[in-house]
């Protein structure tokens, strides 16, 4: 399952997508949990009883602001979360 957490508002589209199929058997030791400086990720048991990473509820409506520190204007080279996730389950839409 691709889980897209985030939103689209007047200013743009802000989604962090997590490919849970790559996530259930995490080979990176759940590195996302500590990689994110704001600790935005958590492990949940989803509706189909898989243990997967998710973006915490409190961040889902403010990603544009919460992620801004990792995304200096003028482009970023690598994001801590998607770099730490070696299976490549985490992607940002913006």
């Amino acid at each position: 399952m691709i889980a897209n957490y985030g939103y689209k508002d007047g200013s743009g589209e802000y989604y962090i997508s997590i490919d849970t199929d790559k996530c259930t058997s995490c080979s990176a030791g759940r590195a996302c949990l500590t990689a994110c400086p704001k600790e935005m990720f958590e492990i949940i048991t989803d509706d189909y009883d898989d243990e997967v990473a998710a973006v915490k509820q409190s961040f889902r409506r403010s990603l544009a602001f919460d992620c801004s520190d990792c995304k200096p204007a003028g482009g970023y080279t690598s994001l801590p979360c998607s770099t730490a996730c070696t299976p490549g389950a985490i992607k940002h839409s913006w």
Partner: protein, 298 residues
């Protein structure tokens, strides 16, 4: 209108229905799904995995009461008691606050499951336009979610956004859809996504001589364009289904269909019950599994 009395243009029709042809007393498994949303609450009762009855009403000040009241509607109409229901699953925004629920499941999974029942197992893309959120879901033939997104950050593309325009135009919400087609020519969509700015834009259009209907058309088109952009992130497939309150707004639905070049699957049931229905169906599957393992053990 007398002073001090404010007409509620946003208010929509509540509904309660039971399938008189079915006898719940003869059923082996009776399950219920309760969907407590931010704006509306639904209770669905399934007997042996088939839809039996539902009740849809506006969410009150607190979730537990809304859940109880929603289910009470079906119970009263059918003569059923809470004890007659084997398993209850809560879903929606207030899912953890359903006092008599045995389990909570997210509305994403429930909507997919409910749409699979209401629209058939060919349904792959589901658009749920709720009171305070908008969801785009892709699912497989079993109604299992394969890709989803939910937007509850922004009022654009939600029922709340539609209520704002109903209030602004002072036209009952149920009339917005039909009125949006009663125009001399289809206007361009309102350009602002943000409801706050769209509201001032709508006022500007009225000032510029647009009829109310034309402003509504421009707004419906904007809403359609917006939700289509959300579905496109998930990927559109021909068989799609719309759930939630806005499925009842023909002005938005027809415009979505036009943009996607396909028509939404039809259903004879209230589009708002999909989440609760999915929850009740999940309950049924769970009971079957438990029953099966119980028999095995014995």
């Amino acid at each position: 209108m007398s002073s001090g009395e404010k007409k509620e243009y946003w208010r929509w029709q509540e509904s309660c229905w039971i399938d008189e042809s079915k006898d719940w007393r003869a059923a082996k498994i009776v399950t219920a799904g309760i969907d407590v949303g931010s704006v509306s609450s639904q209770a669905v009762v399934c007997v042996d995995g088939e839809l039996y009855g539902f009740n849809s009403m506006r969410t009150g000040n607190n979730s537990p009461d809304s859940a109880t009241n929603a289910l009470a509607g079906v119970l009263e109409k059918s003569g059923m008691k809470l004890e007659d229901i084997t398993y209850v699953i809560g879903t929606g925004y207030g899912r953890v606050n359903v006092p008599f629920a045995h389990k909570a499941i997210t509305e994403i999974a429930c909507h997919a499951r409910g749409a699979n029942y209401m629209g058939g197992n060919k349904i792959r893309t589901i658009l749920d336009m709720g009171g305070q959120d908008c969801k785009a879901i892709h699912c497989d033939e079993k109604g299992k979610v394969t890709n989803f997104l939910m937007n509850d950050k922004c009022a654009a593309g939600t029922g709340r956004g539609m209520e704002v325009i109903a209030d602004l135009m002072q036209i009952p919400i149920a009339e917005l859809g039909p009125r949006s087609f009663d125009v001399d020519e289809e206007p361009q969509a309102v350009s602002s996504t943000c409801v706050v700015f769209a509201k001032s834009e709508a006022l500007g259009l009225l000032k510029a001589g647009y009829s109310k209907n034309k402003v509504i058309a421009a707004y419906c088109q904007a809403m359609a364009e917006r939700v289509v952009s959300l579905i496109e992130r998930i990927g559109v497939e021909n068989d799609f289904f719309i759930t939630g309150g806005i499925a009842k707004n023909v002005g938005v639905v027809k415009r979505i269909e036009k943009l996607l070049g396909t028509t939404a699957a039809e259903t004879k049931y209230d589009s708002q019950i999909a989440g609760a229905l999915g929850a009740a169906l999940f309950g049924h599957t769970l009971m079957l599994k438990q029953g099966a393992s119980a028999t095995k053990a014995a």
